[in-house]
Amino acid sequence: MKKLVSSIALLVATMPVAAGDFELTGSVGFENRLFFEKGALPGQISTYQPSLELEADLRWQSSDQAWDVVVIPYTRLDAKDGERTHFDLREAYVRWTGDEWTVRAGLGKVFWGVAESVHLVDIINQSDSVEDIDNEDKLGQPMLEVSTQRDWGQITAYIMPGFRKRTFPGADGRLRPALLVDNDLALFDEGTDDDNDVDFALRYSHYFGDWDVGLSFFHGANREARFIPNSEATALIPHYDDITQFGVDIQYTKDAWLWKFEALVRDSAFETYAAAVGGFEYTFYGISEAGADLGLLLEFQYDGRSDDPAIAPFTVADNDVFVGARYALNDADDTSILAGIVTDVNDASMSGVIEATKRFGDNWVAEIEGRFFMNVDPDNVAFAFKDDSHVMFRLTRYF
């Protein structure tokens, strides 16, 4: 952490303080989750879970465009679950961009990958899973990022001096295991504190004709934790093991087809395993007079990790098939609907998702997100969520 602070200080010290462009924007979201069934666990919210989301976006760019600063504070105020009420700096960094090199220091957000149903190789940022269980909400990651763009592609190195623990719902919260996860008890390979450990990652990304290719390497504390009950069996202790991961993500784009593939090999002190997700998205363009598109998605998910919690973190995407459809109206309001079902090939447990969004006027966006758990097998890890099917309504005002 000290190294990061000093490198930020160094960057700031060399920054031109001359006038540049300053910009402040933000949004306020009103959200309500509606659960179809009462919580299976005592104390859980029964039906409604209203909350408020606030985000600001501050940007400054030097007049020569070589320097920019981005600060994005975010907070959620949840009326029912105290653990879901939280604050985070999604991004807070200084960046210098030269001819071939870019250097960024601070809290950053990075996405790797191509697949839709699971984000397998994406590992830089910790998931803010109290927001949603789809691993798409992320906590800002402290990092020093050095990137170079050449004719043969882009190489980026990440030095990550601080670890962010995953967020988990509290006792009142839904979408949680029977025992609460207690992050204060978290264990790392180095003990109870990971701050002296520095994580490292490297990525190469480029395209060759119709092929987009990414290669990645990560060494550090796993963003996923194994959960071991404490000795009194009153809480789950998250174990964030050190891992080494090699990942590849490939997309082949041809006519209306997008073929997608991601795979990784991950090595921990307990095992070495491989995981992959692959499939396609095919789009029927202009199926309505007004030019709406219908995309069909099919992806297979495989994960070779042990299902013993003493050895590996759990995953739902171990041997599953995702079938989905995306309908985009291509209208002025950017109206779109995505629906999909993931089915476990082994036990036929199913979970469905539906996401719809539409803009109203210039500044309002309405969203509906539904998650449904069906036919969940008692041995499936999603069994803890079997009563947590819900629909979420969100109205966001942008400023």
Binding site: R95, E136, Y207, A256, G286, D331, D334
Partner: protein
């Protein structure tokens, strides 16, 4: 450029061969070939009046008007890198600053002539760069009356041409040239372009849909000649005759030769453009 001159020489010699060998059909074929050649020449003269702009940057406001007259606007900026070889297309970067919820969304395109363009879309909320299919040529661009191909298919060699005749448009003498898309997945059977005889700029295009019915008209106005001799229209008004919707693009001042290079049009830059 070189290749194109070569093509023209070839078509001229084919024309010569046709004239020399087939006596019976010669007048008709010669007329057709001559109209094709003249159409191409007029289009080429117009297109090439743009040669040497090197690179440009401009901000624009897009105003969408629905059939009931309701207006919505979006602000966007365009960066373009000229590629002088007419057998490869220009590179372009489009960035949205409003509506606020899509602020920072960016589209990178490497235009090609007859092959599908390479396109990448950046989604700032997820920090995700997505390669997207460019088969969707006739689809509406961000809900507007402009189709993707109206932006991306401005290259000379994406069409075959036919000279129709002369006309007067808004007091200007214009050449009327029909053009037929050579690329796949076009939403048009043909377009009729009106090019003035004075400074060779496109003043109007009529678009005919797949059923060959008049679909849209695009009017170019507020032309201005910049110091480098390059002409730019600052108002592009697209009217859809079938839906009564319209979209107007109003451009600010163009900046040329701003130092843009190939490295500013790679997918890695999408994450930091605004």
């Amino acid at each position: 450029m070189q290749l194109n001159l070569l093509n023209k020489t070839i078509s001229a010699s084919i024309l010569g061969a046709v004239l020399a060998t087939s006596v019976a059909f010669a007048p008709v074929q010669a007329d057709e070939a001559a109209d094709k050649q003249k159409g191409f020449d007029i289009a080429a003269r117009s297109d090439r009046s743009d040669n040497g702009f090197t690179s440009s940057e401009v901000e624009a406001i897009m105003t969408l008007v629905n059939a009931a007259g309701r207006e919505t606007t979006r602000e966007l900026s365009f960066k373009t890198l000229e590629r002088e070889n007419e057998d490869v297309g220009d590179k372009g970067l489009t960035v949205f600053s409003t509506p606020r919820d899509v602020k920072g969304t960016a589209l990178l395109s490497h235009a090609k002539i007859l092959e599908p363009d390479n396109q990448w879309l950046y989604l700032p909320a997820l920090k995700r760069v997505k390669r997207i299919s460019s088969a969707n040529k006739s689809g509406p661009f961000v809900g507007s009356e402009f189709a993707f191909e109206d932006f991306t298919s401005t290259e000379l060699n994406k069409y075959e041409y036919k000279y129709i005749g002369e006309e007067t448009l808004d007091g200007m003498k214009v050449d009327v040239v029909e053009r037929f898309p050579r690329y796949k997945n076009s939403g048009y059977t043909r377009q009729v372009s009106y090019i003035d005889q004075d400074v060779y700029q496109v003043r109007k295009i009529d678009f005919y849909d797949r059923k060959n019915a008049l679909l849209k008209t695009l009017n170019f106005s507020d032309y201005k000649e910049y110091d480098n001799g390059i002409w730019r229209a600052h108002t592009l008004a697209m009217t859809n005759h079938q839906t009564n919707k319209s979209t107007t693009l109003t451009y600010g001042e163009y900046k040329f030769k701003t130092g843009l290079a190939d490295k500013d049009f790679v997918k890695g830059v999408l994450k930091r453009v605004r």
